[in-house]
Assembly symmetry: C2
Homo-oligomer: 189 residues x 2
């Protein structure tokens, strides 16, 4: 069943019955997307939270000069949306797009709240997810302040070698906050 990736993931955080898991899974919609499809458009109301079963998504925005800048990638078992906009039901600051062909679960804001009300145990699941994600985002802010662009790339390549292979170089450059040209120069060394 396509939703087993999610239920499996939930079980790593919670002690929970199969019966409940089935009901929880029913709150989500399954989608299959091809590479480079848009799931959320910046400036539009952000009403969907996504869970990646298989594949890769990115959230990005267009900077002053018209260049797309990747904020996050989400691969298997990651959650993605514009969390602030989703929570406040405001316009999204980011575009969300598939980087690869992807299988995804989605949930609307109202369903998400209904889920949390009917299954309060999911509060614990998301509390842990966000607690980790928040901590990690702060570590990223630390890295941005600590390392030169060259070090950023080298560290990232050491930490996630398979991922560096997986995404196109210009997206990696965008995520790491440097130009594709400079990344190319770094690699030459």
């Amino acid at each position: 069943m396509t939703k087993s990736a999610l239920t499996k993931h939930i079980k790593t955080y919670l002690v929970i019955s199969e019966e409940e898991l089935t009901q929880i899974a029913s709150f989500f919609d399954y989608h299959s997307y091809r590479k480079k499809e848009t799931l959320i458009l910046a400036e539009k109301r952000c009403d969907q939270l996504f869970f990646v079963i298989e594949g890769c998504l990115q959230s990005y925005f267009i900077d002053n000069l018209g260049n797309p800048k990747t904020i996050q990638f989400a691969i298997e078992n990651w959650w993605l949306t514009d969390f602030l906009a989703f929570q406040n039901q405001k316009r999204s600051n980011f575009n969300i797009e598939t980087v690869e062909n992807s299988e995804v679960l989605s949930i609307s804001f109202s369903k998400y709240n209904e889920l949390l009300t009917k299954f309060p145990v999911m509060e614990k699941y998301f509390r842990e997810i966000y607690q980790t994600a928040y901590g990690s985002a702060l570590m990223r802010l630390k890295h941005v302040n600590t390392f030169s662009k060259e070090e950023m790339f080298l560290k990232f390549r050491d930490s996630y070698p398979e991922f560096v292979q997986r995404v196109p170089q210009y997206l990696l450059a965008s995520f790491l906050g440097l130009t594709p040209e400079y990344l190319s120069e770094i690699k030459r060394k």
Copy 2:
């Protein structure tokens, strides 16, 4: 009572009885600190989560060149720790220090878990806190990628004018990721 700032804050997120709030508050310890006292030392086990009743804390680290870099400030009603290290009970990546004389509540990791177990409604409270904090951290990453250092300062001053008055300029520079010298130059214009 010194803990009323916390219970008041919790009430803005949850419908909850006074009786429960009193019990919840009993999990926390009250401390009063003078300016520039250290609450958590980098490299030491991170076993405390802090809530600011009054005053201002910062988390910072020392970069390669020996310069302190501020990651976050926490003022009234904010939570602060090294969230990743706290959760995993690892050594802290950050120093946490008072910027002003401050009144603070603290809770240890084991008490925190006990609190969440005994009062599952607090899962919802922290889920919402972290969800917002995570979303905000990602917006900060967006800003770091979008704006020049000059724009960073001007935007920040427009958004939080009272806070810019409140903290020393060198800490603000550290938080915004520029040198005090350059900040000084920007202000002159």
